[in-house]
């Protein structure tokens, strides 16, 4: 509550003095435990803002909505640490200018909400670095271990079963802050690299390609996983890829706004034990 009040009054102040044109935050949802994204444009609306442990969604994707930042005005946004990492990647990929973003950083522990120190993306780099060095305990999904224990046939069968449910609604893509392309590869039909039909083959191709496009960029915010209406555990694939780029290239996505994209760069001594 203290953090919520702090940010509410900060939102009011920034909006009143005109130093931001909008605050993107959370408001009460259709049930007591639901929070919905809200866009506050004037200080008298700021009391709609709530901040508690139910505020889970990574809102950073809204920043790249077409035209939102093109007037060069500032926007404030509530972000968890993963959201701040998303902003860093979006900045590194030239999708936004971090100077325009005022961050209302927060994190939760159980029901407790605490504010993060800092206002601009660059000020959190050290903090994000500490997450890289000391990942929170038990952050690895137990299912990951189970999948790793399987033999390839079992793994294939596991994912086949999961992907057979996919209905190709693309909620995973739409919910993801990293999926900002003007045209997604699945919508590119000359040639049609990914089968658009939601048979299992098409679903498999879609999910594999999406995971590859997110490798080194996914911050594990879980937006895709929560958005999936048929509950495919997409987080597992993305976090496996995040582990891979960390192990292989020491790349922790979204460390700072100037980070080089991991798949657009290389080191001459990158590992190649697998190459014959």
């Amino acid at each position: 509550m203290i953090t919520q009040e702090k940010y509410r009054s900060k939102a009011k102040k920034l909006l009143a003095e005109g130093s931001v044109k909008m605050v993107i935050g959370y408001s009460p949802g259709s049930t007591p435990d639901r929070r919905r994204p809200v866009f506050i444009r004037s200080f008298d609306e700021a009391d709609q803002l709530v901040l508690d442990s139910n505020c889970i969604a990574n809102l950073s994707g809204y920043l790249v909505s077409e035209g939102l930042l093109s007037d060069e005005k500032h926007v404030a946004i509530f972000l968890r640490p993963d959201g701040i990492r998303s902003i860093n990647i979006l900045a590194a990929e030239s999708q936004l200018n971090v100077d325009q973003i005022i961050i209302f950083g927060f994190d939760t522990n159980g029901n407790e909400v605490r504010a993060l120190t800092g206002e601009h993306a660059g000020e959190f780099s050290e903090f994000i670095g500490s997450i890289k060095e000391h990942p929170p305990e038990k952050s690895r999904d137990p299912l990951l271990y189970q999948i790793e224990q399987m033999n390839p046939q079992e793994r294939f069968a596991f994912w086949k079963d999961e992907f057979s449910r996919c209905i190709k609604c693309y909620a995973c893509r739409q919910a993801c802050p990293m999926c900002y392309c003007r045209r997604c590869i699945v919508d590119s039909n000359q040639p049609q690299w990914i089968n658009t039909s939601s048979h299992t083959l098409g679903n498999f191709e879609w999910n594999v390609v999406r995971a590859f496009h997110l490798a080194g960029r996914c911050v594990g915010c879980g937006n895709c996983d929560r958005a999936c209406p048929v509950n495919i555990p997409l987080r597992l694939i993305n976090s496996r890829m995040a582990e891979e780029v960390l192990d292989s290239f020491d790349h922790f996505a979204g460390l700072n706004p100037a980070q080089e994209p991991v798949l657009a760069s290389f080191k001459k001594d990158d590992s190649e034990t697998f190459i014959l």
Binding site: N195, H199, E205
Partner: protein, 149 residues
Amino acid sequence: MSELFEPKIIAFVCTYCTYAGADLAGTSRLKYAPNVRIIRLPCTGRISPMFILKALQKGADGVLVSGCHPGDCHFTHGNYHARRRWMVFRSLLDFMGIQPERVIFSWISAAEGGKFADLINTVTEDIRKLGPFDQYKELIRETEAPATL
């Protein structure tokens, strides 16, 4: 006695090193298994993971990707970029349950005709041992089947 399984293998190679190495195997009249179909690209940097998926969709039991050794890329560092992508894509496929043995990466220079011939033989033999990629073929069959419900 059952008939010997002839795996279908699709290879994506760069024109400057591995394609030239394959040509050298030819001019040296080396003999190797006829199971591989080669697609020529300018550089390993051009080889997209999408190609591998399409090869599997066409019923490949194995995919081979090959280019210039590090430091030898005609385009100075296309192969370094490729190497990173492969590293990631390979581990992704592994996680999805596609055995790494089915998607093979190698460096073969224009001078390594012998290595090319040997590799094709080894890969063909290895994939023959693994057997047809039935699990993937089942997905393909499903796309050709009428609706069930």
